[in-house]
Amino acid sequence: MGLIFSFFAVAALVLVAIIGVKAASLQYLFGVIIPYAAFLFFILGIAYRVLQWARVPVPFRIPTTAGQGKSLPWIKQNKIDNPSSSLGVVVRMALEVLLFRSLFRNTKAELREGPKLSYGSTKWLWIAGLAFHWTFFLILFRHFRLFLEPVPLPIEIMEALDGFFQVGAPVLYITDLIFLGAVTFLFLRRVIIPQVRYISLASDYFPLFLIGAIGASGVIMRYFLKTDVVGVKELTMGLITFSPVVPAGIGTIFYIHLFLVSCLFVYFPLSKLMHMAGVFLSPTRNLVNNNRAELHVNPWNYPVKIHTYAEYEDDFREKMKAAGLPVEKE
């Protein structure tokens, strides 16, 4: 149900853009107003969500320790997986965010007759996840060509590398291929693996379809329908300099692409996509494991009712005396 709903939801969004631009000629709405509003919503939404999390205290220091802790000097500590310093945490987080270290560990449990269980390393999700996120980032980075004049050297270099194989004209970007491949893999994985299908919600399929559609519309625009790049750059430069213009002659496909991106901007802060920001705040990963060496303070700690030794002795004094145990009051 989630799958079909999500598919049609994204299809409807595409339709909205087509009707809006082709039938109603709302180029200004789709080219300027919606993107501005969506971007504003994106920024404010993320800030709001992050602040909302940040406001919630971290009462206890609960890192998941994935290696030897700091103890005796002659025992080799795993300083990254069980950090006892901020530097260790920074490295741990960097590996987590940039290389998905926890996912790298992924194993697959297999049950055979007997019973016999075995666990093998499985890296497919890790590889696809890395490919998806990194190419997404690089494609986004490449888009800055549209927002900057002159185009900075790093972007030029990146484009040159990306189009290294010089396939076709315009040059085929390797990132585009990998990106679409990874999105497809992540989607198929959700559909094919029974357990993953079982846990998938509309909110899992929807962003995949949406991002897939954004990628597809981008590719179609670049390689097949050949949008007026000069016109597009005029529009994007206008947006970034707050003097929006809508040049005539930019194809509908561009507006579809832009509208879907706008939708993603709006959807982002409302959804699980916030894992992008949330991962930095995860208490099991971003805390040092020095609980016994340093005092960690729980800001909402409050006194609780306790059973005191005096009460305990009152309950058991005679028995304690009979057993020869020392007591406070005779």
Binding site: A109, N291, L295, M320
Partner: protein
Amino acid sequence: MANPKPEELAKIDLAPPKTGWMETPTVFRKGMFCYGNKAKSLETVGFPNPRQWSVSEEDWHLPENWQEIFIEGLRERVSKYRSFRLFLDICVRCGACADKCHYFIGSGDAKNMPVLRAELLRSVYRKYCTSSGKMLGKIAGARELTVDVLKEIWYYAYQCSECRRCSLFCPYGIDTAEITILARELLNLLGLNIDWIAGPVANCWLTGNHLGLQPHTIKDAFDMFIDDVETISGIRVNPSFNRKGAEILFVIPSGSMFADPGTFTAMGEILLFHELGLDYTFSTFASEGGDFGFFTSNEMAKRLHSKIYDEAKRLKVKWILGGECGHMWRVWHQYHNTWYGPVDFLEEPVSPITGTKFENAKSNKTIHICEFTADLIKHGKLNLDPGRNDNLIVTYHDSCNTSRGMGLLEEPRYILKSVCNNFHEMPENTIREQTFCCGSGSGLNASENMELRLRGGLPRANAVKHVAKKYGVNMLACVCAIDRAALPPLMDYWVPGVRVTGLHEMVANALICKGEKKRTTNMRGEPLPGMEGEE
């Protein structure tokens, strides 16, 4: 209640049901859940809604405004625990955790996949705490909190041993333990606990330990240990209780005072300390290092826990030594100090034997006995004959709590390798931080849920079976009281012939004490290698 035979139990279907999980009703299967708490246990500690109730009856006698209580409690907790709120918000359901849970692997029940276990509560959170859930309902993965949903949350919150193995593999570090800990807190607001947790909590409140051992009973138990130690070693040890001015307060899990094989570990410890001439004392009041309060609510955990520092203060000891116990150490390491601190009435721990300063515990002032003993061995302070353990082929089970909640991995191995000649590791995906739960953690080691325990323990047992076949392993060493209680029946069922030991039982076996008689038996009274037939 007879359990199915291993071959029957091992027929596990990991495929999820045909219907969506929200449409698949939870069937309470006998053997897979624990009995509900007794009213008396809740009354003892002032928990809400004490009443007579039974899990298998339709009516759980909830308070009239139970939904309100639960939802308010939920709102309160997402504003107090960043972990909780974040973990409810950012899961992408990638499924990396799915086959990491021992209960899922052993039962095939889809709702035992950590992600889905968390979704049970997440769906309620979405419905009542997020705008998308309020507006879009089921499309957004939200659902109404009905009695059936509540029961489902109860069923699966008490089918999670909070071992945190899933959190290791999650790309965002989402810790399902954190979610079930708080789910249990919410359930406790309605008086929905299990007897095996609520009972020990009440006991602990009244007597200082889960088993409800009164001061004279503890003394009696140790009197027997003293006699046994003398029979075995010829040495009369003399542990003290509630002694003011001792240098060290030694706290162990009460399981070690009462049930084999934990008792052998306790005997080993008192023999070791006697040999060292350690100035230490036990306390009958702080007679439990574990904290079943942790399985009910943060507040209750803190209420039970405070006795340890309070007692250290009263006895004017310098620092605290903690015995072999799993979640006791999770609590001591990650919560102890935060609940109580600053602990300025104790001194930074220094080993009186080696002079080693335990820098890693300078604020909290508690030392794990494995840290203490490893340091002794490293400094050559112990005269050990590992040959005395030659009849044992040993493997080591990392406790979930000491490994994933602390990082105590090398010390126990160093000790083991020093006290025995035959040590073999289990396969690497099943040890250290990837260790599997004994299947009975977090208060689930009752007997009525034996099927759950055997299923949950299957991954652990299977890894033991592997080394039992390959190297002839016949002894499973561990540093957790629940392990020592839970692993023997688990081994008997899946890997007959493998027994369970604490580490300090092994240490005591190997320890050559000053003035000891010629030892003919180990701590269990079984013949030492080469001493068979001698008397």
